[in-house]
């Protein structure tokens, strides 16, 4: 596709349920990032994939959060046993070869945990 695509655009869930958020990066982009943006705050880094290297998971806030990426394609961010504090916009970004100067962001998934 022409840009980074994220789905769903909005997700409402009940506390305690698991959710999966999807990101389709720009074709050919080897690097993929997940960020979280809580209401009124800046972006928090969650996880970074670069090709076949081990992902940088240093930003994941708890073991309820996990992410997968197969090769250089789609990534899924999973949040287990969601809590109200997980409510946020989850942004995905991709870049060619991990070049942050060529980072493109998706429009995000708005997650609301009731």
């Amino acid at each position: 596709g022409a840009g980074v695509s994220q789905s769903p655009s909005n997700k409402v869930t009940e506390k305690g349920k698991d959710v999966e958020l999807r990101c389709d990066p720009i074709s050919g982009h080897t690097a993929l990032y997940w960020y979280r943006q809580r209401l009124g705050q800046g972006l928090e880094f969650l996880i970074y994939f670069q090709g076949n290297s081990a992902p940088d998971k240093s930003g994941l806030p708890s073991d309820r959060f996990s992410a997968e990426r197969t090769g250089e394609s789609v990534s899924t961010l999973t949040i287990q046993r969601t809590q109200q504090e997980d409510s946020a916009v989850y942004l995905c970004a991709s870049s060619p070869g991990g070049k942050v100067e060529k980072l493109f962001f998706g429009s995000g998934t708005q997650l609301s945990v009731l």
Partner: protein
């Protein structure tokens, strides 16, 4: 560890007036610096970036920013604000492989434009 501080949470400016948004960073090497804009309901859009060379960089929409190493700052400016500039602005630092090729963002500054 790298960090970014945007001291102003909100700024209100009259249309046609000048705008300056402050950004201070902490980084262990020569930084890559960025300004992004996020309009309501929109994704993040890159305004400008600095890697090296001329410390005054020009961006889109009439914005510019100046890198001052001695002050660890990268302030964003626009000489004359338009109503469409009302948005949230984020400063970010990163870029070196040692930093994991990830960007660290400031908390953002929300700009309101008065008619």
């Amino acid at each position: 560890a790298q960090s970014v501080t945007q001291p102003d949470i909100h700024i209100t400016v009259s249309e046609g007036a000048s705008l300056e948004l402050r950004c201070n960073y902490s980084y262990g090497a020569t930084p890559y610096l960025f300004w992004y804009v996020q309009s309501p309901g929109q994704g993040l859009q890159l305004l400008l970036k600095y890697f090296s060379g001329d410390t005054l960089v020009q961006g889109i929409k009439g914005f510019e920013a100046e890198f001052k190493r001695s002050q660890s700052s990268f302030n964003l400016r626009k000489p004359s604000v338009h109503w469409s500039d009302a948005a949230e602005y984020f400063c970010a630092v990163g870029g070196a492989k040692a930093a994991g090729n990830k960007l660290t963002f400031g908390g953002g500054t929300r700009v309101l434009v008065k008619p």
